[in-house]
């Protein structure tokens, strides 16, 4: 029952046209570049998987990572809070040309909806967005004299996650602020695929320090010395 895959391509082989894909990372911290680029390569070579719904806080920067997915034409829709970046051309052009959909979700609501998806909470109420365009069409209710907006859980077919350590039973740690959405997405996806900088033996991660328990992880592939999106961009990657 090992979850450890020896090739990135094999680890990704369950991703099909039309799926929803949560991708960890906030800015460049936590972006699973090797997983993403292997998926882009597959799409370029085979025309699949396309028509994807991608869930991330942002919508790509420059021409790497999610931006590379958008340029390749494999993303039908973005669900995100902030589709801007230092170089948002990939998304902006596609969006203004009507070639890509956008569901804009406030950042905290996005995080909570993903957690709710992982925790079996189909809906919750939040003060966030009350009285704004974002709340239009959503059920609203008063609790203790204050108005709240009902938000629904968010799940996905697949999550692509970058971890620091992974043990063979799927327990994960993250590096610094690369943690961000990844532990939540691991909970909310049917299949969670992890690239880890190092795969270790069960017991090598202190049980007190496990951030994502293995129950939320399906596939692991080791990517030693992974690329860091921000560093790539600053290094002039196109």
């Amino acid at each position: 029952m090992s979850r450890v895959y020896s090739s990135i391509e094999d680890a990704l082989d369950c991703i099909r046209d039309g799926m929803s894909v949560m991708i960890g990372g906030f800015g460049g911290a936590g972006a699973p570049i090797e997983l993403i680029h292997a998926l882009v390569d597959r799409y370029k070579a085979t025309g699949s998987p396309g028509n994807l719904t991608v869930i991330n806080n942002n919508a790509g920067n420059g021409a790497v990572g999610i931006a590379a997915m958008i340029y390749a034409g494999m993303v039908a829709k973005m669900v995100c809070s902030f589709p801007r970046s230092t170089d948002p051309k990939a998304f902006t052009d596609a969006y203004l040309a009507g070639k890509i959909g956008l569901e804009l979700v406030p950042q905290g609501t996005l995080a909570e909806r993903i957690r709710a998806g992982g925790a079996g909470i189909p809906a919750f109420y939040t003060p966030t967005s009350y009285g704004t365009q974002i709340a239009e069409g959503k059920p609203q209710a008063e609790f203790d004299g204050r108005m709240y907006v009902q938000e629904r859980w968010l799940k996905a077919d697949v999550a692509l996650i970058k971890a620091d350590l992974a043990d063979r039973k799927g327990n994960l740690t993250f590096r610094k602020a690369a943690r961000n959405f990844s532990p939540l997405m691991a909970m909310a996806a049917k299949t969670t695929i992890v690239q880890a900088s190092r795969v270790v033996e069960p017991g090598d991660i202190d049980p007190e320090h496990v951030v994502t328990p293995g129950i939320f992880v399906n596939r692991i592939v080791e990517v030693a010395n992974p690329q860091q999106e921000e560093a790539l961009l600053r290094g002039g990657a196109k």
Binding site: G27, L96, L104, G108, L110, P127, A177, L184
Partner: protein, 222 residues
Amino acid sequence: MKKLSNAQIAWRAAQDLPDGAYVNLGIGFPEMIAKFKPEGREVVYHTENGILDFGEAPPAGEEDWDLINAGKKAVTLNPGASFFHHADSFAMVRGGHLDVAVLGAYEVAENGDLANWSTGPGSVPAVGGAMDLVHGAKQVWVVTDHVTKDGKPKLLRQCRLPLTGVGCVTTVFTSLAVIDIVDGHFLLREKLPGMSLDELQALTEATLRVNGTPKDLIVPEL
């Protein structure tokens, strides 16, 4: 009479940071406030992407791009820092655990409504964490020029642009004044000494109320 620079507005806002406060500074202009925190005052900064108690930017060339703030700028850690995931981060925000959030604004209405995320159709909308912050922090401050680039009031009877939050702003630090929002009205706390109340009112759409005499808004050269 010279209006305040952004740095001077940030300085003025920084003087009001309560000792021991947990504070979220919005991307861009509000981030400048950290620089002017009065000495000896302990403030813990929160960033949406899962860090408490981060410190200044590292020297150029020493950035760790896994250690960034919500503006995707490299930061450092203070002793006592912690990492957590996004849902915990926004539990801090939404759950009322932050003392102060500081944001920029396109428009602020006298009832505390804030518009700062969308200039209307035709561009790519982006909201980030602003809508969460305005309904979570105990105090929501705005730092802004008092008027638009065209000289039009930004402090309005009602916002015209899409709202970020309803009745959420508690204090506005502008290039001309410090204004609290109390019971649905602008209450002028401080104004530039060289400016009359009438002059300030002429640049402000909604009525400025005064409780006694407003204090002089005095800031250092920066």
